[in-house]
């Protein structure tokens, strides 16, 4: 420090005490309002840094306390997560042992829509993926909005014909998210569908979301079993509900979440149990083949033929 206050003459000391005393007396002599104002300014200058430091120290102490609490909560949550993970593994093992399909699709393969074929019997699109996919019949195909169709015929390792949901004759097993009520989705016109086989006294409201159900569907006179779609794929929203007195079932109209007129990029849902054969490893590889449900066995012969 440049200022050395230690070595001073008596004269400078006397001067210092005279100045300090004069300043002090001057402050004492100030009118009350001025004194308070000056005290405020001096407080800001002289004690402000200390006050801020004290507040900082108090904040640090508070944050440390909060951190300790949060660490305890994190530790408890980690224990809970471990327990949940263990339960999930046990559930998976049990599901594998029972031969149940995994309800959650595990992977999406992006595909480009290359061709479109509209016929009286079906609306089809040809999709092509970058990587090889083990196409399976009825493998679901979605957009970022929701379900648009299902694989109809594989056309090579990276291509497949997809039947759109609005093709005539298509029936998809669905359920309402809010109530869990099952129903069969049939195309009506454009992006609208009918949700059939929902009892007239059931609780259905406009705005209810419709998702796929993993319950298989027997359709047609030949009663050909169709593979169930994974449960939970978004399909549409209920836009109108009627209960005609002469009918046993409600008339429910559903608007599709996905648009069938603007299809550029779609996603093939893979990685769900028996669907998957070439993208990565089989998630349920440990499941014996004879444990797979009927109709879910993978079709290893991707013919590449057009429908």
């Amino acid at each position: 420090m440049g200022l050395n206050l230690a070595t001073h003459t008596r004269r400078s000391e006397n001067l210092a005490v005279a100045v300090c005393a004069a300043l002090s007396i001057g402050l004492l002599a100030l009118p009350s309002a001025d004194r308070i104002r000056v005290a405020g300014v001096l407080g800001t200058v002289l004690t402000g840094p200390y006050d801020r430091f004290a507040a900082f120290v108090a904040d640090v102490g508070r944050v440390r306390g909060e951190n300790a609490t949060l660490r305890a909560e994190v530790a408890a949550l980690r224990v809970d997560r471990e327990a949940a993970e263990r339960l999930r593994r046990e559930r998976d093992e049990l599901r594998q042992a029972l031969g149940l399909l995994d309800a959650a699709p595990s992977d999406l393969v992006p595909c480009e829509v290359q061709r479109r074929r509209v016929a009286a019997s079906a609306s089809l699109i040809l999709v092509r993926s970058v990587e090889a996919v083990a196409w399976e019949r009825y493998q679901p195909v979605i957009t970022v909005d929701g379900l648009v169709g299902r694989v109809h015929t594989p056309a090579g390792p990276t291509a497949a014909w997809v039947e759109l949901l609005n093709s005539s004759g298509v029936g998809v097993s669905c359920q309402l998210v809010r109530t869990g009520l099952p129903g069969i989705l049939h195309p009506r016109e454009g992006d609208e569908f009918d949700l059939a086989l929902v009892g007239r006294d059931e609780d259905v409201e406009v705005g209810d979301r419709v998702v796929t159900s993993d319950i298989g569907l027997l359709q047609g006179e030949a009663a050909v079993p169709q593979d169930a779609l994974p449960r939970g794929l978004p399909v549409g929203v209920v836009v109108s509900v009627e209960s005609p007195p002469e009918q046993l079932f409600k008339e429910i109209r559903v608007k599709s979440l996905a648009s069938f007129s603007r299809l550029d990029v779609v996603f093939a849902v893979v990685g769900r149990g028996d669907w998957l054969t070439s993208v990565g490893a089989l998630p349920d590889a440990a499941v014996p083949e004879d444990a797979a449900p009927d109709g879910a066995a993978p079709d290893s012969t991707a013919t590449g033929t057009e429908p």
Binding site: A6, H8, S24, L27, L28, G43
Partner: protein
Amino acid sequence: MSHFLRTTLALGLLALLGDTVLAPLMTFGGIGPDFSLIAVAILALAEGAFAGTVGGFVLGLVIDTASPDRLGLSSLAKSLAGFAAGRARARFNFGIPAVEGTTVAILALAHDALHLLVLSWTGRSAFIEPLFTVALPSAVITGLVAIPLLRAADLLGLLNRDD
């Protein structure tokens, strides 16, 4: 860091922590030690009358900001106390606790007497009664508390100045 700066910082810290943390624990019925006065006394004994006067004035101003209606009173009393302690330095016998404690106690009594004098002059307090019931016992306690602090300052080398 210079000796003066170290001494000033250490004593400023003593005054700050003493008055805000320790003094409330040692004060009963308004009677307790005055740590800031002890700090001023040590500063004056270590660095001389000039440092004691200026240090006392600044420290007094800091204290005054807490009670704006008495702005200037503590700075006056402490700057005079620092000046007196600095002047007494030449005759001060370091190392004798009784002398050290008595010196600081007398300084504290004079400091408080000046306080009371100004307050009584402005009609805000009596003089005689609080001088004996508050100022005197406080001065004794301040002198007693000052003894270990002065010893500690001496051990830390704050008082070993040959100037």
